[in-house]
């Protein structure tokens, strides 16, 4: 049975080489993802499926405590384990002992000071994985505990334990807009939100394979989002030039940000071991080590003071946010930049004061995670907006309608003017309609039922691509090769991590060349085939690689079109490409197959390879005041969640989420829907069950039994409304969607739960103890929640080792 809107009319599903009509191309269609067939057959080789003769297995000896001085390190017992080929400490790193992405604050191997659980003390290479981990456990570290700090707010107060000698404040960002408008506010809301972190829980653990060529150069095959980050990290620890480090991205089993910054660490470990032993080194992390050691979504503490007038118009917003960086800064500054300018949401507020501070603590360190600080501040902003709506006696939809940025009020809190169309109202209306907002609220609900239903809404204004602060990375490279048979090779620098970048790049190239998607093969990135294209983050994969592909196709056509024109007997300006043929504009019956043009180019030895380049236009932005243009253009997302809450058990069930997304233009419809469905469910999990349980900085639930991500039985039904437009965007007008798909989801769930229970809840996730605590002392299980409360600790000294 054909699926609705599976193909655009006259699409490419049935290739018709003799087509004489103008083909709309594959853009926006649902053609088969190029990676799907091999993956579903089980024949795709991930890094854990690779093996080489003589290959060794790596393991790391890690600190079991969060804060200590390293008094002594004894590796004798580890070296004595049968099968062990090398045990390395910091002194044996050939280059710099450093893995910090932005700040030089994180060593690959600690020498004097442990700052978090999981800090590496020594590395092992052995002939079997079992021997490697056995030896790692036998590395004897004498650790002298020193005071630790686990609360980011406490960490910023004077007199507490210092995580780094320079102090615990990493950086401060601000947005200052308008005069103080507080006097004109009739309703003022104050709130303090504790927003928890999140584990990425990609199904494929972190892993890589390092293959040395003597001590002169090295190949790394890695599960990663950012091969160029891995290249830089490996070059640094080995003391090699970048050109001597080749990083090939392996098929990657999920990332969500967790394979942005972190894969540089296992890669650097494997590289050092490979150079020391002269043998290939495989480093695949066991799940527990992966969850314990890798980066997490940042926990944030967010204080709000917002005011509105009696007509329900926002007058001012004050936000004081503290981001828990954990023990190392990593990319916390970049996360904080996005959080800082996203803290007000898509609302028109005349007076804004946002302060975002980053604090070092002895917790697991934060890193990239889908949304990059925006989900946390959106959770808080949408909670406050609902509070204000209630205080003003307005429906949450109506309150938002009175305050949304739109085509008439287009200035965001940084002063930047949004380009039209601003699709906030469309997204709100479409999501509310899909959810049946009015019908739901018109229906009577029993006030004494054990299970309470609620519906909540949240919006997000998403700055597409990299923030001004990261704009130096916002470039991208592509190579397009027309083969003699008319098939096409495309290489890009951005990665497929499950989000559909191969399908997007294939679609974009096929659309631009007027060929069937099946004629285009997009290969996974390799740092020796394309130039540094920056990271695969910020929902920029399809944008950055797509723009570079379009540039490469443009350049290729300067050589292809003259050949086609000659074969067609027309001028080169008249050549059009569609449905696998070159044709004369306005006379589509005069055409020749692209394959024939390719064969002619090959026979004449005409250069059939072209490179493409993309870089975003320079923007103005003042980091001190937050004034200017943090992002090039924006996307809007609106989610409406319907929940059922078991009041006694405190269990939240997210029944349905209706998601409206301003995407500019659809590139590949199945990939787009998959991103929205997956993002919503990941956001719903974060909202409800995904609790990072830290005890003195140690994750006590590093398993899928104890850290609960949604299963098929938990996932809400996701309704989708796609809003397309001809506004600002990337290739063919497309905007990023990977992150907007998650950002408002948890906030919508929170607002739905609050409506269901009639009490405010200001901690995420909404686990049963949090729900029970919010319901108050009268609840028979209130004592459970009281115990949980104690985990928000003041300064503590480190617990003794295991």
């Amino acid at each position: 049975m054909p699926r609705p809107d599976r193909q655009p009319p006259g699409g490419h599903a049935v290739p018709d080489p003799g087509s004489r009509t103008t083909d709309p191309g594959p853009l926006g269609g649902r053609h088969e993802r190029p990676d799907a067939r091999a993956k579903v057959a089980g024949s795709t080789r991930y890094v854990g499926d690779l093996a080489l003769p003589g290959m060794l297995h790596a393991a790391a000896a890690v600190a079991p405590v969060a804060s200590a001085r390293v008094a002594a390190l004894d590796t004798a017992a580890a070296r004595a384990v049968d099968g062990v080929e090398a045990v390395l400490t910091a002194a044996e790193i050939p280059g710099a002992n450093l893995v910090g992405v932005i700040f030089p604050d994180q060593p690959l191997l600690v020498t004097d000071r442990v700052r978090m659980v999981g800090d590496r003390l020594a590395l092992v290479a052995a002939r079997t994985q079992e021997a490697a981990w056995q030896a790692a456990r036998l590395v004897k570290a004498t650790l002298e505990p020193i005071p630790a700090v686990h609360d980011p707010v406490v960490a910023l107060a004077p007199g507490g334990p210092l995580v780094h000698d320079g102090g615990n404040l990493v950086r401060t960002f601000q947005v200052v807009r308008g005069a103080a408008g507080r006097r004109r506010a009739d309703v003022v809301v104050e709130a303090l939100y504790h927003v928890g972190g999140q584990e990425h829980a990609y199904l494929e653990p972190q892993g890589c394979l390092a293959i040395p060529e003597g001590r002169s150069r090295i190949t790394i095959i890695a599960s990663c989002q950012c091969p160029f980050y891995v290249q830089q990290a490996v070059a640094r620890v080995l003391g090699l030039p970048l050109a001597a480090v080749r990083v090939e991205q392996a098929p990657t089993g999920g990332g969500f940000g967790g394979k942005e910054d972190y894969p540089s660490e296992p890669a650097a470990c494997a590289a050092v071991l490979a150079f020391a032993t002269g043998r290939p080194v495989h480093f695949v992390l066991p799940r527990e080590m992966d969850m314990q050691g890798s980066t997490k979504r940042h926990a944030m503490v967010i204080r709000h003071r917002w005011g509105a007038d009696r007509d329900g118009r926002l007058r001012f917003a004050e936000v004081d946010a503290v981001l828990d960086a954990g023990a190392y800064a990593g990319i916390s500054t970049v996360v904080a930049e996005r959080a800082n300018v996203s803290a007000i949401g898509p609302y028109d507020v005349p007076s804004v004061r946002v302060t975002t501070r980053i604090a070092y603590t002895n917790n697991l360190f934060g890193g990239a995670f889908r949304g990059f600080g925006a989900p946390q501040v959106t959770w808080a902003a949408e909670a406050t907006v609902d509070r204000l709506a209630r205080a003003a006696g307005l429906d949450p939809l109506e309150f938002r309608r009175r305050n949304l940025l739109d085509d008439r009020r287009r200035r965001i809190c940084t002063g930047q003017l949004l380009r039209r169309p601003v699709l906030t109202r469309e997204c709100l209306d479409r999501a509310a309609a899909l959810a049946g907002w009015d019908e739901f609220h018109a229906r009577p609900r029993a006030a004494d039922a054990p299970t309470r239903e609620g519906m909540g809404i949240a919006l997000a204004l998403y700055g597409c691509n990299l923030h001004h602060g990261g704009q130096r990375l916002d470039r991208s490279s592509a190579v397009v090769i027309l083969q003699a048979d008319g098939s096409v090779v495309v290489r890009v620098g951005l990665t497929e991590i499950g989000q559909g970048n191969l399908a997007a790049c294939q679609t974009i190239a096929a659309q631009a060349l007027g060929v069937d998607p099946a004629a285009v093969q997009v290969w996974q990135p390799d740092t020796t085939t394309v130039a540094d294209s920056g990271p695969t983050v910020a929902s920029r994969g399809a944008h950055a690689s797509g723009m570079a592909i379009l540039d490469a196709v443009r350049r290729l056509r300067t050589r292809l079109d003259p050949v086609a024109a000659e074969l067609l007997g027309c001028r080169r300006e008249q050549v059009e490409l569609a449905a696998g043929r070159a044709q004369v504009a306005g006379a589509p019956d005069r055409s020749v197959a692209v394959a024939e043009v390719a064969a002619t180019m090959s026979a004449r030895r005409i250069e059939a390879i072209a490179t493409g380049w993309y870089r975003s236009k320079p923007r103005r932005f003042d980091p001190a005041t937050g004034a200017g243009e943090p992002y090039e253009f924006y996307a809007v997302a609106c989610h409406v969640a319907r929940v059922a809450v078991d009041r006694e058990l405190g269990v939240v069930r997210v029944e349905e989420v209706s998601a409206a997304h301003d995407v500019g233009r659809v590139i590949h419809r199945d990939a787009l829907e998959g991103q929205i469905q997956g993002g919503v469910v990941q956001g719903a999990g974060w909202a409800t069950t995904e609790r990072l349980a830290l005890d003195h900085g140690r994750l006590v639930n590093p398993s899928f039994t104890d850290y609960l991500i949604p299963t098929s039985a938990d996932a809400p039904k996701v309704n989708i409304a796609i809003v397309e437009s001809d506004g600002a965007g990337g290739p063919f007008g497309a905007k990023g969607v990977g992150e907007p798909a998650l950002i408002p989801a948890a906030a919508a769930v929170r607002n739905a739960v609050v409506e269901a229970l009639g009490v405010e809840i200001d901690t995420l996730p909404l686990t049963p103890p949090a729900i029970v605590a919010a319901l108050g002392d009268a609840h028979p299980f209130a004592w459970v929640a009281m115990e949980e409360e104690h985990e928000h600790a003041s300064p503590e000294t480190v617990a003794p080792g295991r």
Partner: protein, 160 residues
Amino acid sequence: MPERITVALTLNGARRSFEVAPGRRLLDLVREDAGLIGAKEGCGAGECGACMVLLDGAPVTSCLVLAASADGHEVVTVEGLARGGALHPFQEAMVTHGGVQCGFCTPGIAVTGAAVLARGGDAADRTRLLAGNLCRCTGYAKVMEALDDAAAKETADAPA
């Protein structure tokens, strides 16, 4: 305890025999001894379902099954789901419905899905039975669409 023990089993329809250490997991036998890398190790603790194989037709997390206990039994991995060179109908439906994203959980889902189809039942049963396979990319919607579609086709194709 002997150093090695013999495990004779039917693997994807072929009689095979392996000499393994007593503690070896079925997952290691399948991946390393038989070279069938479709089953993945996502957790090593029976939590994620990426290593699912069929043991006498029932889906099991092969990281929790001793290879020795498969002696005399029938094991089918994702590589054995194809029928006559074509993908299993559920695998084919996963492709056409866009149910494949990063692909790491996909072989396990294909194996469980095939068993769920063989078992029969309604959409709610299918959703519940697939809950032992974690997926972080898709939110399960297109996976369940594919499974429902394959189930509908099986019903339609079944003799009246």
